[in-house]
Amino acid sequence: MMKRPVTVLSALFAAALSGFASLGGSEESVVSDQVKFQASRKVVPEHGYRVHEISRDDGTLIKEFVSFDGKVFGVSWKGPTLPDLSQLLGSSFTEFQNSVQPKAGRRKAAVVHNSDLVVESTGHSRAFQGRAYLNSMLPDGVTQEVVQ
């Protein structure tokens, strides 16, 4: 498999599709993330999966990891602010929130290691980074380490 970035013009997709993209969602929905985040996007083929890289001029980089059957099995983010995690985590967001259990005065990273859902959100203002994946959706031969 070649590692050739394919740049896609944002404008082509901005009008084309709607709906929410997210962890566990379909590849088409990645495009709505791009529109939502007013970003440009490129697709990088990897061995056993594809990565959609959504980047914004403010320095935010979101990656969505997609299996060949078109499912988003992982997402990662890096940037000066947090992306909308409710959109990015999709139907897993409620599980994430219930697992994080914010408590008064306790400020720390948000780390969820459930049997299927894994979310790791760390960093601080100006420099956040994080990732999330679903163990059950990792393609054959692909390990969670690729979701970075």
């Binding site: 947090l82 959109q87 005065g105 720390k108 990273a109 956040f128």
Partner: protein, 411 residues
């Protein structure tokens, strides 16, 4: 303060007369200076503010009392239990605790300006920006933009701020009456938010039609008040006593303004280490380098790596994200960063630390702990436990001391 100012004027007048009278440019006789201002502010780790007669009772939150005033007036208010946070920049006061009437900042179109800060746990603080004089010890920062957190009569936080997460905007949510951000940077956002092309989501303009991201000049952004003091403005040092394993009910220390500006804030043997543009440096643990590590008094534990790399059991749902080893465990890590005076030279410091069972600690009646920790995959977040038994210097960006130019840490 008033006395010091008067003395300074007298000295200036004497210098002026001497210069006129003699025609001699030498100023060797004019070393007499005004008495130094009080640069030492008390800080404390205790049970926190009370809500409905009950202490919040959080662990490892460092507090101080901040006086804010309507700019240029003597109409002031002291606010206790403001959290001291080296991981952020700017003063943020919970709206319910504010009795002063401050004027909201606006843009040139008269639209209110709001500020947002997010945290990695997907919580946030949102609210309008207003200017106030900030007084701590004998120091005064004049007309400083601050954030009023969560007033009920202001527009709701837009999605770009909430990021889908949960607000931490009440005293109960926050465990504090406000946050005093005295980190490495002058402004909370800096040049990225002063740029009109794609500023990140820190500042918003809020016309009646709704709030949207906007750019804000450096001077109108939230400021680290320390660099705005007329003196003792190149940084600060936080000094906390060592405490016993198992913790203490409270721990009292000092936040001293300035680095090497008075007899009480000399660097001594502290080693200065620079940071990257994000305020991060490298921590090496078991031979692996983690380059997005940081020091943050606003984190109430040592949050590092995960159970697999540390061998520390997690606490489970009773204390999500914390470590609960069967017995207290000792570790060593190496922090490193460039020498601020010679960036090609790396300065490394060994840091020894211990991690105890967080549930055992939390179930005690103590509030200050030097050995509470939790997970943070791929990163070391040196939270408040790091500060006990140390003098930690914070060199503010573009401000210089004997250690060089900030941003740097020294300890």
């Amino acid at each position: 303060m008033k006395r010091g100012f008067a003395a300074a004027i007298v000295v200036l007048m004497v210098v002026g007369l001497a210069a006129c009278g003699s025609g001699n440019s030498s100023t060797s006789e004019t070393t007499t200076s005004s008495p130094p201002v009080n640069n030492t502010q008390t800080v404390i780790v205790d049970a926190g503010p009370t809500v409905n007669g009950q202490s919040i009772g959080d662990e490892d939150v460092l507090f101080t009392t901040v006086t804010i005033c309507v700019p240029g007036t003597t109409t002031c208010q002291s606010i206790d239990h403001v959290a001291v946070d080296t991981g952020s920049t700017g003063l943020r006061i919970v709206a319910s605790q504010l009795t002063l009437t401050l004027t909201n900042s606006t843009n040139t179109s008269g639209q209110p300006i709001a500020n947002c800060i997010q945290y990695a746990d997907n919580s946030y603080q949102w609210g309008p920006v207003a200017k106030a004089d900030i007084k701590m010890a004998g120091e005064v920062a004049s007309s400083v933009p601050i954030q009023i957190v969560g007033p009920s009569n202001f527009a709701a936080a837009p999605t770009d701020c909430t990021a889908g997460g949960t607000p931490a905007q009440t005293v109960s949510d926050l465990g504090a009456n406000g946050i005093l951000g005295v980190g490495l940077f002058r402004q909370d956002c800096g040049s990225a938010c002063a740029s009109t092309s794609s500023p990140p989501a820190f500042y918003f303009k809020c016309p009646a039609s709704g709030c949207s991201i906007t750019s804000v000049s450096l001077t109108e952004q939230l400021q680290n008040p320390v660099w705005m003091f007329p003196q003792d403005n190149n940084g600060l040092v936080i000094v906390l006593p060592q405490i016993a394993s198992g913790g203490a009910v409270s721990a009292t220390g000092s936040m001293i303004f300035g680095i090497g500006t008075q007899s009480d804030n000399a660097l001594g043997s502290a080693q200065a280490q620079g940071v990257d543009g994000y305020g991060n440096f490298a921590t090496t643990f078991n031979g692996v380098k983690y380059s997005s590590s940081f020091i943050d008094s606003g984190s109430n534990g040592l949050f590092f790596l995960d159970s697999a790399t540390t061998g520390l059991a997690s606490c489970g749902r009773q204390a999500t994200g914390f470590y609960c080893p069967a017995s207290t465990t000792s570790f060593t890590a190496i922090n490193s960063g460039p020498n601020p005076k010679a960036s090609a030279t790396q300065v490394s410091t060994n840091v020894a630390f211990t991690i105890a069972n967080a549930l055992t600690l939390f179930n005690s009646s103590n509030n200050a702990f030097n050995d509470v920790g939790g997970s943070n995959p791929g990163v070391f977040d040196w939270g408040l436990p790091f500060f006990f038994g140390r003098s930690v210097f914070i060199g503010i960006e573009n401000q210089t001391s004997a250690a060089g130019a900030g941003p740097y840490w020294a300890y």
